[in-house]
Amino acid sequence: MLRTQSTVLIAASTVIIAALAPLVMPINIATEILIFGIFAMSTNLLIGVSGLYSFGQAAFFGVGGYVAGYCFVHTNLPLSAGLVLAMLGSALVAGLVGAFSIRRTGIYFMMLTFAFNQMIYYLAYSWRAVTGGEDGMGGIRRPALDMPLVGNIDLGNHLNFYMLAAALFVASSILLFRLARSPLGLVLDAAKQNPRRTASLGFSVYRAQWIAFVVAGAIAGLAGALFALLYRIMPIDAISWTSSGNVVFMVVIGGMSSVLGPVLGAAIFIWLQGFFSLIWARWPLLFGVFIILVVLFLRGGVAELFDRARQAFTRKTPTPAVQGGSHE
């Protein structure tokens, strides 16, 4: 399921995940997991597919949240316009940050994304008139969703809002799945393994990685906008570098080698956070232990457990997972 090659299967799996989640947990937790699932999947386009270790993705999540928040606090724009503007705003910022950051590789790339994240955080922190600064941007309304044929859907209803998040979650995973298996996805994978060779074949590595950076930023912005709508407030924490670190944890916990692995990571992260914080005030300590265990003993993330289980079950010899484009 997690390493499937068919778009239909991916669509079916995501629909099933989205349909089952509210049955086993409170609906707002399920919504939050899907939102962070979108965020983590978009981050994995950079980390897993492209090998670009960005530690500044919260900047684009935050920009999306603030743009959507601004639209729904100060204007009467419909829902769709607010979401599209949020994605465009994040894409624009990601386009600028990416244009500089991708010029460097490895640790320098990481530090640049981190530095840009810090800059954007302090911009949000000090621009109180618009962002609310430390107090966050409150009073975000959830406009009704005007659907053809169906009519107005009231998003004040938790289940309706969950369905909106679920629909966007399914759409994002299909888009990211197709992208990873397209020629662009193969070029990104190739550039991750050997950028110099990829250029000598005639591909602009810079352009491919910049496109990935912008797409990841736009989808992170969508997640941020949904997050602002979910809690009707955009807290300053959501744009801080710790939030960038959290989404990287989600990707690492879930596993980078499949589209849905990071969603699993987001679910575990949010669930564990809730669980540990109930049993001990110093829960981040336990959380750290968990992440260390995953990195040491489960390099492929929790998604690898599924593979191991399947191999044990079918008693087949493990076949090396060939990433990127497949010709099966």
Binding site: P183, D189, Q193, A199, G202, V322, G325, H327, E328
Partner: protein
């Protein structure tokens, strides 16, 4: 490995150096290029031109600057001074991917195939670029480009690699990876092939196979080859260029080079 033994004999005799001037007879040429890494001069005021329809070999002791010359020709490294001309046009300031799109295909000395990709995907990428320019589709699946897959398979077939089609490159021997490297380079559909030690690390049998293959395609391309194995160089080259310490010390046919004094001094310190 199969390095021809040579000393650090002082190399000052430039008598045989042909001063290449820009001319239409050269498809690809370097004019007065210098490359320095800090204070270290790796290539000094080198002019070398490659006439089309021929197989050129570049010989020279280790550290002569042969691979660096390739890196300058493909702009993997910028020149410190001088110009690179392709079909008479300056390409000195272009980027590597732009030069590749102009029909310059290159293989690397150290295998640079994508180890985690299948043989087919390795070649597919090159064939896709040749077919679609620099565009990169982002929705259609790689597997749905039937025509490009056929082209890629054809190239694999040519090099006798079709049996490895679905294997990741890391699953095969170094020799087969070297062949894949050549297949990938060919699939970019170049006019000019720059082969950096295509037989390095190959067994005698594999070397023979690569040699015969290069000989069989040499009518269709301008081939420039860095090679250490004398039998390969002498048997299939139309022109041999000898470099030492960042300069060209001799150019000519294989027979001329084998009689050249400067070359003997460079290699044997006579």
């Amino acid at each position: 490995m199969s390095e021809v033994a040579m000393g650090d004999a002082a190399m000052t005799n430039l008598a045989m150096q042909q001063v290449a001037t820009p001319s239409a007879t050269h498809l690809l040429e370097a004019v007065g290029v210098t490359k320095k890494f800090g204070a270290n001069v790796v290539i000094e005021n080198l002019s070398i031109g490659f006439a089309p329809g021929m197989l050129h070999s570049i010989l020279g002791p280790n550290g002569a600057g042969k691979t660096t010359l390739f890196n300058l020709l493909t702009r993997d490294l910028p020149v410190t001074a001088g110009e690179i001309l392709l079909r008479g046009e300056r390409i000195t300031a272009m980027k590597p991917h732009q030069i590749a799109r102009l029909g310059v295909g290159r293989s690397y000395q150290i295998s640079s195939v994508y180890l985690d990709l299948s043989f087919l995907d390795n070649v597919w990428l090159a064939a896709y670029r040749a077919r679609h320019g620099g565009r990169m589709g982002w929705w259609k699946r790689v597997g749905s480009y039937g025509e490009i897959r056929d082209q890629a398979c054809e190239v694999l077939e040519k090099l006798g690699l079709i049996g490895f089609r679905d294997l990741p490159a890391k699953a095969v021997s170094y020799g087969d990876q070297r062949l894949l490297e050549i297949a990938v380079t060919l699939a970019t559909n170049p006019d000019i092939l720059l082969l950096d030690e295509p037989t390095a690390g190959l067994s005698q049998r594999e070397t023979e196979r690569v040699k015969r293959f290069i000989e069989s395609i040499k009518q269709q391309y301008l081939i420039v080859m860095i090679e250490h194995k004398m039998n390969v160089v002498m048997e299939i080259s139309d022109r041999v260029h000898v470099m030492n310490r960042g300069t060209l010390i001799a150019s000519g046919t294989a027979a001329e080079i084998s009689r050249d004094e400067a070359v003997h001094r460079a290699y044997f310190g006579l």
